[in-house]
Symmetry: C2
């Protein structure tokens, strides 16, 4: 499954020795065509890692032959040498695949910021990965891009005779403008780059962009969609876009479910907003409220903290018309005390917060996590 | 000291029984004149507690005779009944002080959101507080407004023959647009309301507004400045404003030093910004980065997280010109690796982060705290 669920792709995941642990740390995904169309979405952080700067250029051409991904180092804030290393990585992939250009090789990296990659291990690793390429290699590739992920993440959707598959990594630093994550989606549908781009942008806008585990935006976020055309089928754009969205949604949900140190997945739905932007702004404000995140961790249906968070936004609402439900119990009505908070059962991992702005008909869903001592522990260890 | 350091004021702090613990929970500060000028600054949260809505109206008159403050309940999100309770509280103060109008009585509350105050305890408590009023009552008043504060907070400044004194409470939910806190400042300087207002707004803009313990903005923030004129002295406005700023700065620093669960006070100075707004935006983004806050807790000089946070802002800078120092060691130079991170000594409570945007000459300082398991614990307990 994963990136090799669709026809026309091979993949590999190997241990190149980038990680001191000896765990798999290098993945390669190759598009064997006949089409090599691609689209990409990258972090909106203005401090971008070298592989992001590189891959943004590659994607402008609309064609990608291969994607090489490493864990064990983000190659971010590494200056000109870091960019040269990314370039050398792409050149090496082009060389081992023969007959391809480095300008069609996308690169993605994840790990600690501010350290150079061990190129003496990475470059030989590319040869090793190329030798291991397999049309069943999707799972191994998904495993090789893990950092603090406890599980690897894959998803598949599609239609009659065509498939969209994907893999993702990411377990912290999940935030808007893309979670920290590397995602590669592949399809054997015969879809040109502009349509891939449209489908991918719309899909990420309402999936990865609405995952906000801890409000921290990465320097390395990358989502790529590669089309081989190997099925010979060109689906209706709507059906194709929906399949891409479904895979993104599935992977985004898996990212939240595996967020560092989290004990709760919080589904925040903002309803009856004047605009979708209002709904997203309010949802994000709730998602990022540390006091609320602590309360959810403590299974405390503390709706006052939801109202506090809503009150910091510019969205259209009247304070005395706000309603809030936690796990479907309307604990806040008309800005004041509603149903008995003791009716709220918060024992399960998923917690649903519904915020009714009573100002229109638009809505949005944002996914977040609780804030736990384990999160603090995982992220306060030296150079985690 | 505290609010009775200046001449012309009396204060009291008593236990009215609002807190189940039996700890002091009601404070009264009275201005005996001859002048009763006042200024106030309130939360910019759009969900405002009843006492904030009331006191905003009172302050429009520019005159305040008394301030009554309770801990043990925020009287926020309590609907029309909550507002009636605040009104009744002010009326009771006016009644016991005799000859005064409720329209000159400011009210402030702090505690849990979404519960009505026990008026059967609060109203008799006002009689008790009035009977206990003393020109040495400042400390007791400061103690009575504590919630999760571990210490009470007071400060004093002034000039030749005149004084500015103050008290503050606040230990969490500290954020811009005012930290959650109640602050009462008093002065015996003879200063009319418009000049009080100018001094107070300028002082809060660069002190309380730049404290960002946990990014959460309260519904109840209130800062009041009362002038009795009892010294008969009208200082130069600049000297007066500086004294007000000094007291605010001292109290703001005490708030950070007593923040819930914190083990570090983080002084974030953004230098060489194109504008002061840029410096504040960047400082706040750093202050609110949970991953960085965890790293600081772990005494990890993780400058990559500083760059990640800077990169999410709209401020003017070039990524390859950013410099970052932690405790004066320039661990990041020109957007990449700088001095040896092992040179950074982070054993002490105060940690200094300097972010050089290399884009101008403006600067700003934001104070924040680290993120700890204790913070999570304190804020995840049921209805903390």
């Amino acid at each position: 499954m994963s990136v090799t669920a669709a026809q026309g792709f091979s993949a590999a995941g190997i241990a190149a020795g980038i990680k001191e642990s000896g765990n798999p740390d290098l993945a390669l995904v190759v598009n064997h065509g006949p089409r090599r169309a691609a689209a990409g979405v990258f972090t909106s952080n203005r401090v971008k890692a070298a592989p992001v700067l590189w891959s943004e250029q590659v994607l402008k051409g609309g064609a990608v032959t291969a994607v090489v991904l490493n864990s064990g180092g983000a190659n971010a804030c590494t200056g000109p040498k870091g960019f040269q290393d990314t370039h050398a990585t792409a050149e090496k992939v082009a060389e081992v695949l023969e007959g391809h250009s480095a300008g069609e090789v996308a690169v993605a990296s994840t790990g600690l910021i501010g350290i150079l990659l061990p190129m003496d291990k990475l470059l030989p690793g590319i040869e090793q990965a190329a030798a291991a390429l397999s049309e069943h290699g999707g799972e191994k590739a998904a495993i090789a891009i893990k950092t603090t992920d406890t599980v690897h993440k894959t998803a598949v959707a599609g239609g009659d005779g065509w498939t969209v598959g994907g893999m993702a990594k990411g377990a912290g630093m999940l935030a808007p403008g893309l979670a920290t994550m590397l995602v590669v989606l592949t399809t054997d549908a015969d879809v040109p780059a502009p349509q891939l781009d449209a489908a991918l942008r719309e899909a990420t806008r309402t999936t990865f962009d609405r995952v906000d585990s801890d409000g921290c935006m990465s320097t390395n976020d990358t989502v790529l969609l590669l089309a081989s055309g190997a099925s010979g089928i060109t689906p209706e754009q709507d059906a194709f876009a929906e399949a891409v969205r479904a895979v993104c949604d599935d992977l985004a949900r898996q990212l939240i479910g595996d967020a560092e140190g989290a004990s709760k997945d919080i589904r925040i739905e903002v309803i009856n907003a004047a605009t979708e932007d209002d709904a997203v702004e309010v949802g994000r404000s709730i998602a990022r409220n540390n006091l609320l995140k602590c309360a959810i961790h403590g299974e405390d249906p503390n709706w006052g903290r939801v109202l506090s968070a809503i009150g910091t936004t510019q969205a259209a609402f009247e304070p005395d018309q706000l309603n809030v439900a936690i796990n479907d119990v309307w604990v806040c009505k008309n800005g004041g005390v509603g149903e008995d908070r003791d009716l709220v059962d918060m024992r399960y991992r998923e917690v649903r917060i519904t915020a009714d702005l009573a100002a229109g008909t638009e809505s949005a869903v944002i996914w977040a996590n609780d804030l736990t001592a384990d999160y603090v522990h995982e992220n306060s260890a030296y150079s985690s």
